[in-house]
Structure formats: C-alpha cells, structure tokens
Amino acid sequence: MSVDAEIVRHIAKLARIAVSDEEVAALAPELSNILGWIEQLQEVDVEGVEPMTAVIPNRLRLRDDAVTDGGIREDVLRNAPAAEHGFFAVPKVIE
C-alpha cells in the first residue's frame, strides 16, 4: 500500500490533526512502510472465521435506569481551558 501526500492530508483531516508540508512529506513514506508491513495479513485464510468481539467471554450487565451521578458542575468544568456561565466555551460556530 503506497500512501501519497494527498492521502496523508485526507487522513489528517479526518483525524483533525493539522499537518505542515514537511510533516506530510515525512509521514507518507512512514505510513506506507507500516501499512505495507501490515499487508501480510492478506495471506491468512480467514474464510468462515468470526471477527473477535470479546476477548474473555463476559455477559453485559444491565443496571437500574436511575441517576447515579451529577451535581458536580464545578468539578466537570475545573479542567476546561475556557468555561463561561457554567458551560464549556468554544469559538463561535454560527455566524
């Protein structure tokens, strides 16, 4: 699998990571190498094999539909880079 600059920019966009032209140039061969190495999985015969969903068999539990948490707004906001009026603050999204 060969990853070119255009694909790197597309993945970076999907991953929401800004990349410089320099980083794109470095990442393209790195990602190509890693994906090329991963390619060996194509050799494995997986016909009729179910994909793994749980590594140790476990039963999903249900709990009562009741409020178990809350009333800790100050705690929740304490680490926010920006908080105003009891909310997380972000740059303007609607003009």
Partner: protein
Amino acid sequence: MTGLTELGVAAIRDGVREGEFSAREVAQAYISAVEKARLLNAFVVETPEHALAAADAADAARASGDLKPLSGVPLGIKDLFATRGVQTTAGSRILEGFEPPYESAVSARLFAAGAGMLGKLNMDEFAMGSSNETSGYGAVISPWRRSDGGNAPLAPGGSSGGSAAAVAGRLCPGATGTDTGGSIRQPAAFVGISGIKPTYGRCSRWGIVAFASSLDQAGPMARDVRDCAALLEAMSGFDPRDSTSLDLPVPRWEASLDPDLRGKRVGIPREYRIEGVPDEIGRVWDEGIAWLEDAGATIVDVSLPHTRFALPTYYIIAPAEASSNLARYDGVRYGKRVQPEQGGLTDMYEATRAAGFGAEVKRRIMIGTYVLSAGFYDAYFNRAQKVRSLIARDFADVWESCDLLLTPTAPSAAFALGDKSADPIAMYLNDVFAVPASLAGLPAMSVPAGLDDHGLPLGLQIVGKALDEQGVLDASLALEERAGFTARPEAWW
C-alpha cells in the same frame, strides 16, 4: 535509614506489622531515594505528602490494631492512572496540568488497602512506545549500564518505563503498570524485575487513560513474584463502572503461592524461535526449560501457528481503538487548547491536536483513522479481528496439551536510547513475544532470568490460561527460585 529501600512490598508490610520499623521511616527513606534519583526522570510528579499521610495512617492503624493488607507500603503510580487532585498526563503534553476530580479504580483500591503514593511515573505518551522515548516529559533513563564501561543511557523499556526504572533503582518497592501489548512485561525484562499482566477484565479500567480498550489491562511491577501477587490482589476486583470488568472473586494468590510444578505441563511454542534473535535469548530460554523441569513440570513441544501474524494484527487493532479513544482530546473539556487567530472550531481542534500530540501518537492515530476509513474497514480492521480470533483459537488449542507456556519476554536486552527511535517497525518488534497473549486476553508474567554478555538483564515469560494467574505466578516463582537473579544496577545517579 537507607537500608529500608532494600525492602520490597511484603517485607515492608510484614515489618510494619511486627513493629520492626515505622511506616513513616519507610516512606521517608523512599522519598529521599526518589529525590536523589531525579536524573533518571522516572517521576513526572512527586507526591511525598501523599506517601507520608498514608504512612502516618498506617502507623496509627498499627497502634489501634487495624492494619490493612498494604499498610505502610509506598508505591509509584504510572501516570496513566487518574489520581484525584494530582496531575495526570498519560505522558502527553496535551494533558499537561490536568488534575482529575476523581480517582482511578485501581489506585483507589491500592489506597484503600493502605498503600501510599510516592508520585506519578513517567511513561511513553498514551502508552504508545517500547522505550519511553515518546514521553512528552523526556525519556526515562534506565538505572542499568552496560558492563563494557560505556555509559550510553539505556532505555528502561516501555511503555511502563518509569515504573520499571523506579522499581529497579530502588525508588519504590512496587509500582502500577499497564499492558496493552507488552508494556508491563518488556520493561520488567529490560530492568531485571517482575511484572504481571492479569487476565483481561481482572483490573478495572475505570480511570485509566484509554489507549486500546480491548487490550488495556493494569498490573503490578515489583522486585519479586510474591510482591507482584500481593499487589495484584489489591488491584483486582469487580467494578460495575467498567463494562468488561469480570464479576469474579479475587483469589488469594499470595497465600496460595506454590513453586512445586509436579503434574503441570509447560508448552514451548516452536514459532517463538525466530531468526535474528541473539543466541543469549535462546540460551536463557533453554535454562528456563531446565528450571521448570527441575520444579517437576513436564515439558511439551507445542505450536501456535498464527504467531507471526500477531504483531501486524495488533498494529491494526490498537491504532484503530486509539484513534477512536483519543478523539476526546479536542481542547474543549480539559488539557491543552491552541486557538489560531481568526480560526473556527475545526481550526482549534486541528491546531490543538497538532501541538499537543507527539510524533508516534500522531502516527498511530493516522494509521487507525486510515484502517477504519470508508472502503478500508473490511480489508484491514475486520480482517484483523478475524485473525485475532485465530490467534485466540491457537491458544485454546494449545491448552489441550499443556497448562502454561514458557517463552522469552523480549527479543533482546535493553537497547540504548536513540537506537531504534528512527524506525517504528524495529521498535514494534520488541513486543513480538508479548503481543500474542495480549490479543488473547491471557495472564502473562515476566521474571528476570539472567544477564546478557553486556551484563544486562534478560527476562522469561510465563503465559497461562484465562483466569489462571495462580498457575502463572507459581511457575514464575519456580523460575525465580532457580534463576537466583541477584544482579542490580549500581547507584550512579
């Protein structure tokens, strides 16, 4: 009383109970060792006040006859565990300054059992690395040096490299680690200590910064098998806040330790003899086989046919889960925010993540994003999950003919910092022997077994059936008793 830092977890616990020394004396001795060893960069944050408060509580508990299982034991906590009011970074600059308002389940259990905290231990960024060099806070330097007189700084392994260095350097008697694809076992092997990754689901993941949730599992790192057993008992147990937590009683592993392996069959997987691995790894492995035979075990040759596909499988699944888990670092709720001038919300996300994540984390997020993206999901992710089923089936098949497996822990001794950091795949190969058990969720332990030609530690790994931590600990103890590993780094720092 510097002599107290010679004592491990069980010895401290027992000594405090017997009144041979106070918990405060122990805490002070270790706090002083931590302060003197800052050159190693093992701790990101030191918390002497926490260790002293727990020690005073232990001394008071002794006076009132109310001691707990780990009263008086000061520990190091890997910086992946959220600790209430104490900076938790996961080794990343994107979380610099983050002080969780809650305590992780595992650290809460340890503190409830009477243990104190000496500080938060350095690690590869978001546990992605095998050398500690990806930490946003600088690499940890191993306390070990080669015997050739060269002073090249060596990697302590990773991702639990701070934990490994701190235990090996006698800066703490034990530490928490986490293991996603070898992050407890490989560093333990590199620095000549013991470490166990229990069955997936034994330790709650609640409050552990997530890397690859289907693989992440906490475990202890300490100087010997008994200490690991004691710590693991305190760390394990059901937690309804983790949907994959196992609702099972925690066995009394320490009290049940028994190195007599008569009646046990130990498999030697032939696929683990791989080309390009130094002869000394094979030599130590052969010694291990002889030790287990001496302990009464029957040795059987076994096959795990899909072994060579484990690493590429891991490097699809782990980055895929990471790309999803790390989407939460968006500069809104916690951690770093970078806001470009005139930029909108998306610009803020992109600038924050570009500035906050290091190169290896970005690489893995991008690999994960790619393998999950439209058109590639079936070819990569879904196929990897099928191969993962085959790898787990290999183990299920092998348990028909044996009870445990013995393998080397890592394909080499510790390498020098910088030696492998330019080649991601060379770095990934460090975990070739560790990753298969992770993919199958099985308990696995590394114990020190000998030294290489440069005087550096080599480890052996025991892998067991799901939930058979006792079998893993017992066989590890049998190895420990016969290896007679007493080498330790000279305190040059």
